[in-house]
C-alpha cells in the first residue's frame, strides 16, 4: 500500500515538474484575438457552436502533440527542423509569414491589455507603456523557468471567465443540449464564424512556442508520457475557457441581440446586462491572457527566426551577444505598443489582414509538421504511428480546407 502510494506521489511530482509548456501555450491561446472570436461566436450564434469546441480540442491535441514530440525527440526548435529539412527558400517564406501574423497578434494583445485596463479605468497612455516595459523587463531578467512560473500565476486570473459564466446564470439545459448535439447552418456568416473559431484556436505561433519550450525545459522522451498529459491538459483548459466565454456572451449579449467585434466590446456590453462583477471579471481575464501572449509571441518569433538563420539566441545571452534575437523582441514590443494609438477602424482591418496571412501559413506549417514527424531521419523510432497519421492527416486536411475557405471568401463576396 505504502509502495503504491509513494509511486503515485512520485508520478504526480513528475507530472507537475513536466507540466507547463502545454498549459501555458493553451492559456495564451485564449489571448485577445481568441477572446474576441469566442465572445462574438456567443454573441452572434448563442450556444449553437459549442459542440464545435469538441472537434477543435481533438485537432488541437493532435497538432500540439506532434510539436511537443518533435521537441522531446530532436531537442531542436521547429524552425531549425524546417531549415534543415526543407531548405532556405521555404524557411524564408515560413518565417516572413510567421513574422507578419505574429506581429499582428502582438498588436492585438497589446490592444487587448490596454482595452481591459481601460475598462478598469486606467487610461491607455499609462497602461500601454507600463505593459511594454513589464514585458521587456520579464524578457531581460528571465530564464524560461522564471517566466513559466510568472505565467502560471497570471493564468490563474483566467478562472474569472468561469466565474463570469456562472454569474450571468445561463440556461444550463440549453448549454448541455448544444454541447452534445451539433447544429449547423450553411449560412455564409455562420460558416465563416465557425472557421474563425478554428483558426484562432490553432495558430502557427503555438506550435513554434510549444516545441521551443519543451526543448528549453529539457523534457526528454523518457518523460514524454507526462508531456503528453501536459498537451492534453493545456488543450482542454484552453477550450474549456473558450466554452465559458461563449456561454457568458451567449447568455447575455445574444439574448439582447448585441453583436461585437473586439474582446473589450464584450466586457463593456456585459456591464448593463450582467452587472459590474461579470464585466470586471471579463476584463481581468482579458488582461491576463493578453499579457501572457504579448510576452510569448514576440519571444517565440525571435527564437524561430534566429534559429532558422543561425543568429545567436537565448535569454541567457546579453543584448550585445544576440542583437538580432533581442532586436526582434524589442521591435515587436515597440510596434505592438505603438499601433495601439491608431484609430480602431484601421486596427480592425489590420487584424483581419493578419487572419488572412495566418490562413496561408497554418496549412504550410501543418504539412511540414506531418512530413517531419513521419521522417525516420528526424524522429527515429518516434515517428507517427499509422493510426495517428490518419488522424493527423484528417485533422490537417480539415484545417487546411477551412482556412482555404476563410482565405478566399473575402475575394468571392
Amino acid at each position: 500500500m505504502m509502495q503504491r502510494n509513494s509511486g503515485f506521489l512520485k508520478k504526480m511530482f513528475l507530472l507537475f515538474s513536466v507540466i507547463g509548456p502545454g498549459l501555458i501555450t493553451g492559456i495564451a491561446d485564449d489571448d485577445a484575438t481568441g477572446i474576441a472570436t469566442y465572445a462574438s461566436v456567443g454573441a452572434s450564434y448563442g450556444y449553437k457552436m459549442l459542440w464545435g469546441l469538441f472537434l477543435i480540442t481533438i485537432s488541437l491535441i493532435v497538432v500540439q502533440e506532434m510539436a511537443a514530440r518533435m521537441g522531446a525527440v530532436t531537442g531542436k526548435g521547429l524552425s531549425a527542423l524546417i531549415r534543415e529539412n526543407f531548405g532556405v527558400k521555404m524557411t524564408l517564406f515560413a518565417m516572413v509569414t510567421l513574422l507578419i501574423t505574429n506581429l499582428a497578434i502582438t498588436i492585438a494583445d497589446f490592444a487587448g491589455a490596454a482595452a481591459s485596463l481601460e475598462i478598469l479605468s486606467i487610461p491607455k497612455y499609462i497602461s500601454v507603456p507600463f505593459v511594454a516595459l513589464l514585458v521587456w523587463m520579464v524578457t531581460l531578467r528571465g530564464s524560461y523557468k522564471k517566466a513559466e512560473r510568472f505565467f502560471l500565476v497570471i493564468s490563474l486570473v483566467m478562472i474569472s471567465y468561469i466565474i463570469a459564466a456562472f454569474l450571468v446564470k445561463p440556461d444550463w439545459g440549453e448549454v448541455f443540449k448544444n454541447t452534445f448535439i451539433p447544429t449547423f447552418s450553411f449560412d455564409r456568416d455562420f460558416v465563416l464564424m465557425f472557421i474563425a473559431m478554428v483558426g484562432t484556436t490553432i495558430t502557427p505561433w503555438m506550435q513554434f512556442y510549444h516545441q521551443a519550450s519543451v526543448v528549453d525545459k529539457g523534457i526528454d522522451i523518457e518523460h514524454y508520457e507526462y508531456e503528453k498529459m501536459d498537451v492534453v491538459i493545456g488543450s482542454l483548459v484552453s477550450n474549456i475557457l473558450a466554452f465559458f466565454i461563449i456561454v457568458t456572451t451567449a447568455a447575455t449579449l445574444n439574448k439582447a441581440g448585441i453583436s461585437i467585434e473586439m474582446a473589450e466590446d464584450a466586457a463593456i456590453a456585459l456591464k448593463p446586462l450582467a452587472g459590474d462583477y461579470a464585466s470586471t471579471l471579463f476584463a481581468v481575464g482579458l488582461f491576463g491572457a493578453s499579457l501572457i501572449a504579448a510576452h510569448i509571441v514576440p519571444l517565440s518569433t525571435a527564437y524561430a527566426i534566429t534559429e532558422a538563420f543561425g543568429f545567436e539566441n537565448g535569454l541567457d545571452k546579453k543584448f550585445k551577444e544576440a542583437p538580432v534575437f533581442y532586436g526582434i523582441i524589442l521591435f515587436f514590443i515597440i510596434i505592438g505598443s505603438g499601433v495601439i494609438f491608431l484609430p480602431s477602424s484601421l486596427f480592425i482591418k489590420l487584424i483581419i489582414i493578419s487572419q488572412e496571412v495566418t490562413g496561408i501559413l497554418t496549412p504550410i506549417i501543418l504539412i511540414y509538421m506531418i512530413k517531419l514527424t513521419t521522417n525516420k531521419d528526424v524522429m527515429g523510432e518516434y515517428t507517427n504511428s499509422g493510426a495517428f497519421n490518419i488522424v493527423a492527416w484528417i485533422t490537417v486536411g480539415f484545417i487546411i480546407f477551412l482556412t482555404i475557405i476563410l482565405t478566399v471568401s473575402p475575394f468571392l463576396s
Binding site: T74, G75, R83, V88, L92, G310, E312
Partner: protein, 415 residues
C-alpha cells in the same frame, strides 16, 4: 564555355546533368571523402527517373555557360559509398549547424565553396554569411547592386574547411565525424560554451566522444543545466570515470544537482576512495564551507624538519594552488599552525616546523556559511583557507578558485 576554378554548392545542386547532349538526371548531392587533407568530391548523387544513384565524380565536369553551370558526365559509372569515410555536402553540411573552430561558436551553414584543381574537386570553405543566404534565394546579385549605390557592401563570411567541425544529430546517419578531433584544439571553457549552444541530444553525443580527461575539464566549465543533461545521458561507467578526474568538491556539486537515483548509481561505479570523499562532501548543505572545500589537502606534523617537509613535497608533487600554505597539525590532527612556502625555503634544513610556523592561523568551520568565508578571504587577502571541524581537526582546504566558481554560479542564478 569557360573552365571554372571554384563554385558554390548552391549553384550546382538541382541542375541538370548532361550525358553527351542529352539530360540524364538532376544533381542531388555531392559526397566528399574526408580522408584526404581537404575533402575531395568522390561521387555525385543523381536523381534519374525518380531514383537516386551515386556516380563516380571523376567523370564529371562543371563548366560555366552563359552565367549558368553546366554539369556533364563523360561516363556513368556507379560507385559504392563508404559511410565511414564519406560525408554528403547537402545532407550533412548545408543548412546544418557546425562548429566554427576559429570563431569558437556554433553556426549554420548557408553554402559550401568548392575548388576545382587538377587533382580533383575539393570542398574548401563553408559560407555562413548573409551573402550566402541571399545567394540561396537568388537575390545576391540584385541586392548587392542595390547596396552598392549607397556605397555599402554585403560582406561574405567564410570558414576554411580546416576550421569546420561537422556535428551529427542523434538520428543522423553521419558516422565519420564522431571523433570530433578538431574540437580537441579548443580550450575547455570555449568547448563548454559551444556544447551549451547545441541541442540536448547533440550535447550528449559530442560530450560522449571526448576522452575522460578532456570531458572532466569541459564538464567543470559547463553551466548547471548542460551538466545535468550530459551526466544523465552518458553511460554510468563513463560518467563515473569522468567525475573521478574532477576535483571532488565540484563532482559533489554536480552530483547534488542531478536525479538522486542516478547520482547513487554513478557513485557506486566510482572507485571507493573517490566515492567516499564525494559522499562526505555531499552531506554538507549548500552554501556551507564544507560543500565547497577540498579534502585532499596536504598537512605536516609539528615534529617534521624543513628537510623532511621539502622531501615530502617533492614526493607528492601537489598542485600549484595548494602549495603556498602548508598547514601544520599536532598528534591529534588539530590545526596548530601554518608555514608559507617562502618561510620553508629560506629556513635551515634541520629546523623543526613548529619553530618556524605561524600560530595564529586564520581558519573557518566546515559548517560556516560561504558568505563569512568570502569576507575572511578578502579581508586577509588569502589564496586558501584551512577548514576545521568542531574538534578543531583540520579536515579540508578552500581554495580561492572554488570561491570564485561559487560566486559565479550564484550570480548566474540571480541573473
Amino acid at each position: 564555355m569557360n573552365n571554372i576554378t571554384s563554385f558554390y554548392l548552391s549553384r550546382v545542386i538541382g541542375n541538370r546533368v548532361f550525358y553527351g547532349e542529352s539530360v540524364f538526371g538532376k544533381l542531388v548531392d555531392l559526397a566528399v571523402d574526408v580522408n584526404f587533407e581537404k575533402p575531395k568530391v568522390v561521387a555525385a548523387l543523381i536523381r534519374e527517373n525518380g531514383e537516386e544513384r551515386f556516380y563516380d565524380f571523376s567523370f564529371f565536369e562543371i563548366k560555366k555557360e552563359k552565367g549558368q553551370y553546366r554539369i556533364s558526365c563523360a561516363e556513368k559509372k556507379p560507385i559504392y559509398i563508404d559511410v565511414h569515410r564519406t560525408m554528403r555536402l547537402v545532407k550533412h553540411i548545408l543548412d546544418k549547424q557546425i562548429v566554427d573552430i576559429n570563431g569558437r561558436k556554433v553556426v549554420r551553414v548557408n553554402d559550401v565553396r568548392l575548388a576545382v584543381l587538377s587533382t580533383g574537386t575539393y570542398a574548401v570553405a563553408v559560407d555562413i554569411g548573409i551573402e550566402g543566404l541571399l545567394r540561396r534565394l537568388g537575390l545576391a546579385k540584385p541586392i548587392k547592386k542595390f547596396f552598392k549605390n549607397f556605397g555599402k557592401n554585403i560582406t561574405s563570411k567564410f570558414i576554411l574547411w580546416d576550421y569546420v567541425q561537422p556535428i551529427t544529430s542523434a538520428k543522423s546517419d553521419l558516422k565519420i565525424s564522431m571523433s570530433y578531433n578538431k574540437l580537441y584544439t579548443l580550450h575547455p571553457s570555449d568547448l563548454a560554451d559551444i556544447i551549451e549552444d547545441l541541442d540536448k541530444k547533440t550535447q550528449a553525443a559530442v560530450f560522449a566522444s571526448l576522452d575522460d580527461e578532456k570531458a572532466a575539464d569541459v564538464l567543470e566549465e559547463l553551466e548547471t543545466k548542460a551538466q545535468i543533461n550530459v551526466l544523465e545521458s552518458l553511460p554510468v561507467e563513463k560518467a563515473a570515470d569522468v567525475l573521478e578526474k574532477m576535483p571532488f568538491d565540484e563532482a559533489a556539486d554536480i552530483l547534488d544537482d542531478i536525479n538522486k537515483e542516478r547520482a547513487d548509481k554513478i557513485l557506486n561505479e566510482m572507485d571507493v576512495r573517490a566515492s567516499r570523499e564525494i559522499k562526505e562532501l555531499m552531506q554538507y548543505p549548500e552554501h556551507t564551507v564544507g560543500s565547497i572545500m577540498v579534502r585532499d589537502f596536504i598537512s605536516f606534523k609539528t615534529i617534521f624538519t624543513v628537510e623532511d617537509t621539502i622531501k615530502e613535497l617533492r614526493r607528492i608533487k601537489p598542485d600549484a594552488d595548494v602549495i603556498y600554505y602548508l598547514y601544520v597539525t599536532d598528534e591529534m590532527g588539530k590545526l596548530v599552525g601554518v608555514v608559507s612556502l617562502r618561510d620553508l625555503v629560506i629556513a635551515e634544513p634541520d629546523t623543526l616546523l613548529k619553530d618556524i610556523m605561524k600560530q595564529d592561523v586564520i581558519f573557518v568551520r566546515d559548517t560556516d556559511d560561504v558568505n563569512s568565508l568570502i569576507g575572511i578571504i578578502s579581508k586577509y587577502s588569502l589564496l586558501a583557507v584551512p577548514v576545521i571541524d568542531a574538534e578543531k581537526r583540520l579536515i579540508g582546504v578552500v581554495i580561492i578558485n572554488d570561491i570564485v566558481y561559487e560566486l559565479l554560479k550564484r550570480n548566474r542564478r540571480m541573473a
